[in-house]
Subunit: 348 residues, 2 copies
Amino acid sequence: MAFDNLGPRELRVLQNLVMHYIQTADPVGSRVIANRYRMGLSPATIRNTMQDLEELGLVRQPHTSAGRIPTDSGYRVFVDLLLRPEPLTEAEQKKIKSLIAGTNRGLDALLTQTSKILGEISSQLGISISPRFEEGVLTRIDLIPVSEGRLLVIVAVKSGLAQTILMEVESDIDVDELRQMESLLNERLTGLSLGHIRKTVNERLADTSCSPRLLKLFLDTDSEIWNDQGEEKLHFTGVDKLFSQPEFAERSRLAELVRVLEEQSGLIETIKTKSIGEGIVITIGRENQMTEMQSCSIVASKYQAGKVTGTIGIIGPTRMPYSKLVSIVEYTARSLTEALSDEKKDNG
Amino acid sequence: MAFDNLGPRELRVLQNLVMHYIQTADPVGSRVIANRYRMGLSPATIRNTMQDLEELGLVRQPHTSAGRIPTDSGYRVFVDLLLRPEPLTEAEQKKIKSLIAGTNRGLDALLTQTSKILGEISSQLGISISPRFEEGVLTRIDLIPVSEGRLLVIVAVKSGLAQTILMEVESDIDVDELRQMESLLNERLTGLSLGHIRKTVNERLADTSCSPRLLKLFLDTDSEIWNDQGEEKLHFTGVDKLFSQPEFAERSRLAELVRVLEEQSGLIETIKTKSIGEGIVITIGRENQMTEMQSCSIVASKYQAGKVTGTIGIIGPTRMPYSKLVSIVEYTARSLTEALSDEKKDNG
DNA sequence: AATTGGCAATCTCTCCGCCAGAGTGCTAAA
DNA sequence: TTTAGCACTCTGGCGGAGAGATTGCCAATT
């Protein structure tokens, strides 16, 4: 929809209305806008403008004698046309940086930490999604026998990421065979991306003298080693923050949201399809595919770990402080990317 | 407190009262017990017994003209003296086994999965705590350079567990030196427990020709490599289940619980100190140290992965179906231990 | 002595009507 | 085009009334 035909008065009224509603969570009346925001107009005039905005579908009344609240479209116009990112304070920047830098237990812990930071600083729900390893470049692969019938496979990928897979194997595997297999894999596959390996592993390991029993574990292109199906994980922290939000007064709505969060896969899918582009992506209310999310907004951004990319973001009610959240997500994504980058930041 | 002086009548009334209250969440009146449970006594008689139980502090009235509900002590007597574990159905057993067996992405994923199973089957909150690696026996240690200034250390422990640590190092490390260091570590330390290593690493690596810069990373006994501080993680699934429970009608109470869950460390500590013994440990309401947990009960059990032990459990309101939950936790813990045991279960 | 029926008393919960408060839409005036 | 005035509408809180449930106690019964 084109809302370019909105006059400056309409825009200002919308802006003030959205900002005030974000703060108070109460429907905003004409008097508040006229007085508190010093527009130099009487409430009656504001009322007329508000009627126009209502006809355009940007605001609505919960009931006849209440003030107005923004619709999803109203928030959309606010975000697209009126949003001014509110910069982070020094303290906030410091906090984000130091908490990210202080975590060195591997990717999983780092992402948990990141979601925690986002949740705390935003007072909303912070989320982070681990990257797909598809594009990750293999650094090393280890085969470690852990017991008679089981094998621990550790796949290390550039940028310090690693995933471990526990495999069931036929019980009698010779240690020497295993060593041989291991060096073969490392020789022929390191430096390639996992996705590439999956497609070409058959050819690359064709002429080999290895134990065929062992070999077939790695030739299976559906194997979880090269495939990252189900590998993506959604971390989230800050559910308690949402409890105090009036839009989650009915228990069922928050319960639904939590169920979706715990279920993981559906939400991961929708977030990923949304945030294909660069930079911050904001999804508002009904713009969400999932019905359980249609009273929520998501502010998301990608982060990078070498060639591999994942997503972080914030979830909250559509009435969320977008101006602040945009800055938080943007800065956190950048910090995370930095922490995961191959170059050390300050190698002076 | 000794409640051995309770007569069989008192016990039966208490039992029926608790069982009925667990089902309905409504205060139980004398008539319900007399009629529905066919005790062959009139409501008036039951009333007298109930007064006795109230004087003993086992039940209480929410207000003058309501039925009775169990107190924490009441549940305690129920659990200690009257509980009959309700066996799992075939289907439930199958579900638990197969979901545990179907997860082979390493310990973290397995524990997430376990908490999910517990949550689903119990319709309560399922939790799992990763084990301390203190007692874990080192199988292998890998040093993988990931970028100029960083080193990925993978510590593999018996039973297929592995943890990865990302370390900052001085930027110019020779690959050969690294290899040398790696084999040295593997030669001298595999087969020992991490706790043991931490204490003796200084002597064990004393006479060495390795690069001292590298060496000092591993001699630092506070280093996160041998130390598992902060390594323990609490996984939880099923928060949405608690929303429908009437005891969490006030939002703040559930919010507090979630905050504690997300904060991790405090809860981990209390659960660990409680469940030192073998078998199922049940903690009821006020018996919990943490104030936020005092309207909740925990049914917990240990599981083992070789020499390493962790805890799983279920959290819910004190009004929870103990009979069923005991069986669920017990069976799941056993299945998990089995899945993590060194022996393959069915190597026939 | 234990059990039971009867009964007044107590407390909650829900429904209903009432009223104050807030904000609108419309109309007429500036 | 803007504003003041005014009737209208809807919500939310308060209080009282009445139904329902369950108790405690007492006197009667087994």
